[in-house]
Structure formats: structure tokens, C-alpha cells
């Protein structure tokens, strides 16, 4: 399977034919879907909370420069350092240089989609630094050399048997005859293996769910506690984050903390919420000596002022992914990109290009379920449609579609011609579909590949209506 969004159709087909994927995808509804629905029902006025979240994020996105400057000043005041990366390559170089200055050889990592986006791990490895993923799902896929298939549950696509096989292959110092049929045994094994890594790492890298400008804090939420062991034990802590993650202050964060876990897994709060504000304080036993924040643009700022701007509100909860019927059919790897499902469809054509990621915006029925569950009311189908319009205007839409639409539109603007053409078509299709259905046509291969077409009744409504009146 290829990490190339242009290969979406083939990758989707492969995913549809993968029997191992189906039980995992079934869990989207039973676990994520049911979880969110229950949490929303218990909350009270969840709509008011969504609107508050949207307003907080809109304020942040439309005051982004001001808040980033305030954030930087607050971090500096606490003895930390902020770095600004225009693109993935610059972010990688900045992170490498911080690690090299710190003399770091091993680095533990909390889950960070941005580090996935900038392809950090292979770059560190190529430069003699060993990154160790500590989120259990990320650890598993790191061992398997796979990309994540979901933004909060990276190993979502795997069965426990697949995980057990991976552990047997990777943890060679353990007794090969040990039983690994229970999930709990797998978790305890990972805990033991990674505890050593936490304790010996020279540096820790985390992402940030939010940045708070007034206090100069980065906030992460986990259920495992791995993010905390990543950043509290080593000497150096680097937060790698998108520029759009900043909000005005911790009261704004408190509101968003009500939205994020409920929308993601249905929890009222994640087990661990960690507010990290600078290097360790005077007299403290734990915490980094050096606190760095790397702010990554990588195509985000260029969405400001466009019809896609609202996508910058995203708090990366994954609700849209969990409720998307297309993701529910093909899973995450088919998208071939860091961000998948509806948020991927809204982001990737902008952050990458329409030429590269056009399929993401096109592989949607616009059912609207994503927008219905988005905690910050991002109009996701509207943004996907915008990318389709950019694609169409740029001459990048498939020629058959453009031609077909051209013919259709030509007729649709000429009522008499349309009525004539429709009558003819209705008669022809009725003849072809004599048994009631049309089984094949020399056009519309996509339809007839998997469906018949119920034959028309033979005369159009308009023709019959004129005849009656």
C-alpha cells in the first residue's frame, strides 16, 4: 500500500477487498459512534457548547498572528524557546538542530500527527537519532513500519492477533513461548518495554492539542500517560505543533476540553490532561531543563482568507472520520496521507495541492454526517466542494465528467431540446430494459459495473403532462 493520495482509487479497492479490515471498521459505529452519542445525550445543551467552540476557534484563527506573538512572549518569559518553521523541511531541520545541541541519541515521542505530517522519524533515523513512539498504537505501527490509519487510534485497523505477532517478532529478548492471547498481556508487555525507553531517553517530543497564548502553555490529552513520561523525564522537551492550535487563554482551553474527548471517544474528559508551561520550576524534581516549541506552518496560513479557512478551526478529535461512511468502508490507509476521512478531504487539497489530493475531495457523497458531528461546526462538505470547484476551474477534473456535464448542462439550459432529448432517452432505455431493468450501456461504466438501472416507464413526465392538459 502506497502513501500517495493519487493512488486513492486502487488503494480503496484493495481496502474493500481486505477481510482483516472489516471487523475493525465495524468498531467505528459500536465504539466511537455509540460513545459520542451517549456523551452528547448526557451533556445537556451540546449545541451551545459546539457554538462556543466554534467561536473560540474562529477568534483564534482570525487573530492568529497576535496570539502566536503573545504565545511566544509568554513562553520566553518562562524560559522556553519558540521556533517557527515555514514547511516540513525547515521543521525537521530545526528539531534536529535542537536535538543535536542537546547531544540526544534516543528520543521518546508522544503521539503527534504533525510529526507524522513532516515525516520526522525517518529523518531523525537518517541522522543517527533513534525515535521511539510511546503511544501504544503508534508503538505498534512503528514496529510494523506502517503509517497510522486514524488520527487518534493509529493501530485501529489491526486485530489483537496481528499485534501479538508484531510483539513476538520485535521483542526478541522475551520468552518466545509466552502466551499473548490476552489484550492485557500485550499492554503489560508494551508497558515494560517502553518504561526502559522513557527512563533512558535524552529528549522527549510531544505534540500539542492546544496552545494557550496568555500563559505560554502547551496542553496534551492522553489516556495512557505516555505523553507525560515523555516530557517529564528527559532533559529536553520539544513540542511540535501546527500554528493554528493556539487559543487565547486557559479558559478557552477549558471549554475545548469539554468538546474534544466527548467528540473523540465519548469520554467526558481524557484520563490525563497535561498543561505544560515551560521548563521545570525552581526546586522541582521533574520536568525538562529545556522547553522548545516548534510552530509549523506547512500550508496552513495559505488557507486563511479562502473558502477553506474554517478548516483551521479543527481540534483533531476524529469525530468526522468516525462517522464517515466512506472511511467506514475503506479505512485510513487508502487515503495515503497523514489526515484521512473528511478532515483529510478538507485539508489535503489545500495543504498539499488539488492535483495531488483531488480524490480526497471527490470521494464523498456529501452526506453531511461529518459536519453534523464536528465539534467546531466546520462545514466540511462545503469545503470539499470548494476544492472540486478549484479542480474544475483548473482543468484538472476528469475529462469524461467535464464532457458529460457539459452536454447535460447544454441541454438543461435549453428546455425544448431537453424535453426532446429526455423523451428520446426514456424511450430508448425502456426498449433496452425490456424486462424492467437495463443491465448495461456503452456509457456510465461506473454505474453498470456494480448495478443494474431500473428502466424508465417510457414517456417523460413532461410529455405525459402536456398530453393530459
Amino acid at each position: 500500500m502506497n502513501q500517495d493520495p493519487r493512488e486513492f482509487p486502487q488503494n480503496a479497492r484493495a481496502a474493500l477487498n481486505d477481510p482483516l479490515l472489516r471487523p475493525a471498521l465495524g468498531r467505528l459505529k459500536t465504539h466511537f459512534g455509540a460513545g459520542r452519542a451517549a456523551a452528547v445525550a448526557r451533556y445537556g445543551d451540546f449545541e451551545a457548547l459546539r457554538e462556543a467552540g466554534r467561536d473560540i476557534r474562529d477568534y483564534a484563527v482570525t487573530h492568529l498572528d497576535e496570539l502566536l506573538i503573545a504565545f511566544e512572549a509568554s513562553v520566553n518569559a518562562r524560559g522556553g524557546t519558540v521556533h517557527w518553521a515555514r514547511d516540513a523541511a525547515e521543521a525537521r531541520r530545526l528539531i534536529l538542530s535542537i536535538l543535536q545541541d542537546a547531544g540526544a541519541r534516543t528520543v521518546t515521542k508522544g503521539k503527534s500527527m504533525v510529526t507524522e505530517e513532516i515525516a520526522l522519524n525517518p529523518f531523525l533515523e537518517a541522522n543517527g537519532i533513534v525515535p521511539v513512539e510511546t503511544d501504544l498504537g503508534e508503538y505498534i505501527i512503528q514496529l510494523r513500519k506502517e503509517p497510522p490509519s486514524h488520527i487518534i487510534a493509529p493501530a485501529f485497523h489491526l486485530s489483537k492477533e496481528q499485534v501479538a505477532d508484531t510483539f513476538r517478532e520485535a521483542h526478541t529478548e522475551l520468552d518466545p513461548a509466552r502466551p499473548l492471547t490476552e489484550r492485557n498481556a500485550l499492554v503489560q508487555e508494551a508497558r515494560a518495554m517502553l518504561r526502559r525507553q522513557f527512563e533512558s531517553a535524552d529528549a522527549g517530543i510531544t505534540g500539542a492539542n492546544f496552545l494557550s497564548a496568555a500563559e505560554g502553555a502547551a496542553i496534551i490529552v492522553t489516556n495512557e500517560g505516555n505523553g507525560d513520561l515523555t516530557r517529564l523525564l528527559p532533559k529536553t522537551h520539544i513540542v511540535v505543533t501546527g500554528i493554528e492550535k493556539v487559543v487565547a487563554d486557559m479558559d478557552d482551553v477549558a471549554v475545548l476540553l469539554r468538546l474534544l474527548p466527548r467528540s473523540a471517544t465519548g469520554q467526558p474528559i481524557s484520563t490525563y490532561v497535561s498543561v505544560m508551561a515551560g521548563p521545570r520550576g525552581c526546586g522541582e524534581a521533574d520536568g525538562p531543563e529545556d522547553f522548545h516549541v516548534v510552530l509549523v506552518d506547512n500550508g496552513r496560513s495559505k488557507l486563511i482568507g479562502t473558502e477553506a479557512q474554517d478548516v483551521l478551526r479543527c481540534i483533531r478529535c476524529s469525530a468526522c472520520i468516525n462517522h464517515c461512511p466512506v472511511y467506514g468502508a475503506i479505512g485510513g490507509h487508502a487515503y495515503g496521507a497523514t489526515y484521512m476521512g473528511p478532515i483529510g478531504a478538507a485539508l489535503n487539497p489545500g495543504m498539499m495541492s488539488v492535483a495531488e489530493a483531488g480524490h480526497h475531495a471527490n470521494a464523498s457523497t456529501f452526506c453531511g454526517r461529518c459536519a453534523e458531528v464536528c465539534p467546531v461546526l466546520i462545514p466540511l462538505p462545503k469545503i470539499m466542494r470548494h476544492w472540486r470547484a478549484v479542480e474544475y476551474a483548473g482543468g484538472l477534473a476528469p475529462k469524461t465528467i467535464v464532457r458529460g456535464l457539459g452536454i447535460w448542462a447544454f441541454a438543461a439550459k435549453r428546455p425544448a431540446l431537453y424535453r426532446f432529448g429526455a423523451s428520446l432517452l426514456a424511450r430508448i432505455l425502456k426498449m433496452i430494459g425490456r424486462g424492467g431493468t437495463v443491465h448495461a450501456l456503452p456509457v456510465m461504466h461506473g454505474w453498470f459495473a456494480v448495478r443494474d438501472f431500473p428502466a424508465p416507464q417510457g414517456k417523460t413526465f413532461q410529455a405525459q403532462w402536456r398530453a393530459r392538459r
Binding site: A24, R27, H31, G44, A48, D55, I56, T62, D65, I69, R78, W84, R86, E90, G137, A153, P154, L158, S159, K160, V163, R183, L186, V187, Q188, R191, R195, F198, N223, E224, G225, N226, D228, L229, L232, L233, D251, L257, R258, I269, T271, Y272, V273, V275, A277, G278, P279, R280, G281, C282, E284, A285, D286, G287, L295, D297, S301, K302, I304, G305
Partner: protein
């Protein structure tokens, strides 16, 4: 232009409009017997929550928790902790950081009833990593320090945000294998909370 100037210029050049600072959001209020509400929420997240009449009951509760989990009669308490003067008969007290199979006893200066959450500002005597290292964390808190919401904790912090503020709402868990929850992923597998009523 460096990265900072380029990014800021890009943001400023493209911005079309600004939305105003929103009016502060009020969550559905958490009112009533806050310690009860807190205890109920945290118990629902697989924590062992007990109400005690006074600090004098703490040693027996600790011993009982350790016995119930089949653990050795040994706990770790941070040096310079509020609990430095705690005395337990027949339970060994260690001062170094707990290992992956040890028990730690900590004090929570605040707790949040809305979500069943312990709030730990880091500081001298309150090392942040102790909430993640051991297999069992026993948290002691006064009933009067339980507030309604996170916003109340933020407002109550004496000198603003410390270098680390940890919010803990249960033992460590993961759903990363087949979306089925297992406890004890990296942090403690067990969390016990002793709520001490004030005299």
C-alpha cells in the same frame, strides 16, 4: 525574512475579517454535594474512592488498599511532601521515585467535581512524574478542596500556572487494541482516592 516573519506576514496578508472575542461560555452548572459528585464520577472511571472522617483514618485506609491489591506493605512519598509527617505502622515508607510496580502516595491540592478530576500543580514536594511512574497511586485530598469546574481551579492557583499542571481522571488506560479498554498502559493501573472530610 526568517520563518517567523514569513509566517506572520502570510497570516496578515491573507486575513479578510476578524471575529470578536466571544462571550465567556457557561457550562451546565455542577452544584450540590461536590465531594459526592466528584466521588461518583471518579469511581465510574475505575478508581477506588473512599470518604474518610479525618487524617487519622488515612494509614489504615492505605494499608487496606495495599492488601486489597496484593501489594507489599511499602509506599513512596515525595520528600518535602505535605505528607512528610505521615506515620504508618507496618508500612515501609520510601522517599525515592517509585518504580513501575510500586505504590505512591500523593496529595491533590484541588479536585474538580464536574469531571471527577484530581488537579496537581507541580512543585517542590509534588513531583509531576509520580502520577505516572507507579502501578498504584493513592491520592489524598481534603473535601473542601473539591471545586465545581476546571475554571475554578485555574482561578484558584496562587501564582498562576506552574510549569506543569496535571489533571488526572482515573487510572491509565488504552483502547488501542481492538478499541477495547485495558488499564495500566503506561501510568498507574490502579488509582485510589482518599477524601478527608475537614473537621
Amino acid at each position: 525574512m526568517n520563518g517567523r516573519e514569513t509566517i506572520l506576514a502570510s497570516i496578515r496578508a491573507r486575513r479578510l475579517a476578524q471575529t470578536p472575542r466571544p462571550t465567556p461560555y457557561r457550562a451546565p452548572p455542577t452544584t450540590g454535594d461536590l465531594p459526592q459528585i466528584f466521588a461518583k464520577k471518579l469511581s465510574a472511571q475505575y478508581a477506588d474512592v473512599r470518604m474518610l472522617d479525618s487524617m487519622a483514618d488515612v494509614p489504615a485506609a492505605i494499608a487496606d488498599i495495599l492488601r486489597g491489591l496484593n501489594m507489599a506493605a511499602r509506599i513512596h512519598i515525595p520528600p518535602d511532601s505535605e505528607l512528610a509527617s505521615l506515620e504508618l505502622a507496618n508500612v515501609e515508607i520510601r522517599r525515592e521515585p517509585p518504580g513501575a510496580f510500586d505504590a505512591a502516595v500523593t496529595t491533590a491540592p484541588f479536585a474538580i467535581a464536574e469531571t471527577g478530576t484530581l488537579a496537581y500543580p507541580a512543585g517542590k514536594g509534588a513531583p509531576a512524574s509520580w502520577h505516572f511512574r507507579p502501578v498504584l497511586e493513592i491520592a489524598i485530598l481534603r473535601a473542601s478542596s473539591i471545586v465545581a469546574e476546571l475554571e475554578d481551579v485555574l482561578a484558584a492557583l496562587p501564582v498562576g500556572l506552574p510549569s506543569t499542571l496535571n489533571l488526572v481522571s482515573g487510572p491509565s488506560r488504552t483502547g488501542d487494541i481492538e478499541q477495547t479498554m485495558e488499564l495500566g498502559a503506561h501510568g498507574p493501573k490502579a488509582l485510589a482516592v482518599l477524601i478527608v472530610r475537614d473537621s
